[in-house]
Amino acid sequence: MLTKRIIPCLDIKNGRTVKGVNFIDLRDAGDPVELAKIYSDEGADELVFLDISATEERRKTLIDLVRKVAATINIPFTVGGGISSVSDVEALLQNGADKVSINTSAVKNPQLINDLAQKFGSQCVVVAIDAKQINGKWMVHLVGGKMPTELNLFDWAKEVEQRGAGEILFTSMDHDGTKNGFANEALATLSEIVNIPIIASGGAGNMQHFVDTFVEGKSDAALAASVFHFKEIEIKTLKKELKNNNIEVRI
């Protein structure tokens, strides 16, 4: 059976891991390549590298880093942040990235999704959507959640699927950082209205939250950062717990 995926997310700034990490055996906790290797060895199913400063500073994602990661690890990885053109994506894929994640640039120029899907295939186009509830409606936000838009989450999700996105990475800003669990109701709705995989993001605090998002939220994958970086949850233990809950995982 196709397994549910566990995806650690590494925030990158100037080629270094930003969020503090708690790996005592690391020589250099800020080295994304070394962290990537550790996660890969622990059983992460994929990795996401998010160049968090990229959109604001309009800086291009670091090609060198992508090459080093691709040379070191043997699991798939996605690169996001500041990607706004076909040539940006071409450079990342040529250097070993498997997928790219686009967010603000997809809203500003939806045709980019079509262009990328046509040129490189849907399988490498992840559309990241940040949203929060305003007056009971899930509204899409941009620039790392700072800029509200008029777009409704569910309408936008259907549109990106129709334009050729291969996957949706949905971050609930209402849940992100709370450690109170994922936005499972919205996630389950997303899974019903589109037929591409959904990655849940925002809110992971304990192992039960992952169980819940796979069962109640019908998510295909779950992404988290700090619970992994600070070793509050170890991927091996998490996967055993998921398996104990009859959730198919790769162990």
Binding site: M1, L2, T3, K4, R5, S40, D45, R67, A70, A71, N74, I75, P76, L93, Q94, N95, G96, D98, Q118, K119, F120, G121, S122, Q123, C124, G166, E167, N195, I196, P197, D220, A221, R250
Partner: protein, 193 residues
């Protein structure tokens, strides 16, 4: 050993290059017929859309060269699909190496299948030392049904061919270069054939 990765403009070639390097070998990228013919092992990668990829093969004359190769040839993902008779993707005629037509998953399941799934009923030297039901990384919307040339089976919506073999030709729907240490072992097995 001379390993050539066929470079026809489709595919995440860098990942395969790196995987081969991790195994201690070197590979060259080429679309030169003489260089491809002279190789000990040929890898035929591919991601993207079938009819576009086939057009690129035809433009470079590789569509007639590949089926005539005598050394071990390994098609990966779209590479494997293009080695089949036909693909529903863009109604594309393939290279006819594997006697099977590639079909699309129905909307009963999420399409593409994306992630790790098991391979079983393993039947080839390609899987020497590989246990049944290991997980491989797959990303695809189209599949080759089970057939006489099936050497590995995967279940998503239905049981289909996750690997094929015909004489010196091998194909994998999964990405050995992205499937952890077990995937690398399969790639190493191919290089030792």
């Amino acid at each position: 050993m001379k390993i050539v990765i066929i470079n026809y403009g489709a595919g995440n070639i860098q990942s395969i290059m790196f995987a081969i390097e991790r195994l201690g070998y070197k590979a060259v990228l080429s679309n030169n017929p003489d260089e491809i013919k002279a190789a000990d092992k040929v890898i035929f990668p591919g991601v993207g859309e079938a009819s576009c990829a086939m057009k690129m093969l035809q433009e470079s004359g590789l569509d007639t060269l590949i089926p005539r190769l005598k050394q071990p040839v390994f098609g990966i993902c779209l590479g494997m699909q293009l080695m089949c008779n036909f693909s529903e993707e863009g109604n594309t005629n393939g290279l006819g190496i594997f006697d099977v037509d590639v079909m699309k998953f129905t909307p009963k399941v999420k399409v593409p299948q994306m992630g790790w799934n098991q391979i079983y009923n393993l039947k080839s030297d390609l899987f020497k030392g590989i246990a049944e039901n290991e997980y491989m990384y797959l990303v695809h919307s189209f599949y080759a049904p089970l057939c006489a040339e099936t050497i590995a089976t995967t279940n998503y919506e239905l049981e289909y061919s996750s690997a094929l073999e015909n004489d010196n030709f091998y194909g994998a729907q999964f990405h050995p270069e992205k499937s952890g240490d077990i995937g690398e072992q399969i790639l190493a097995n191919f290089l030792k054939l």
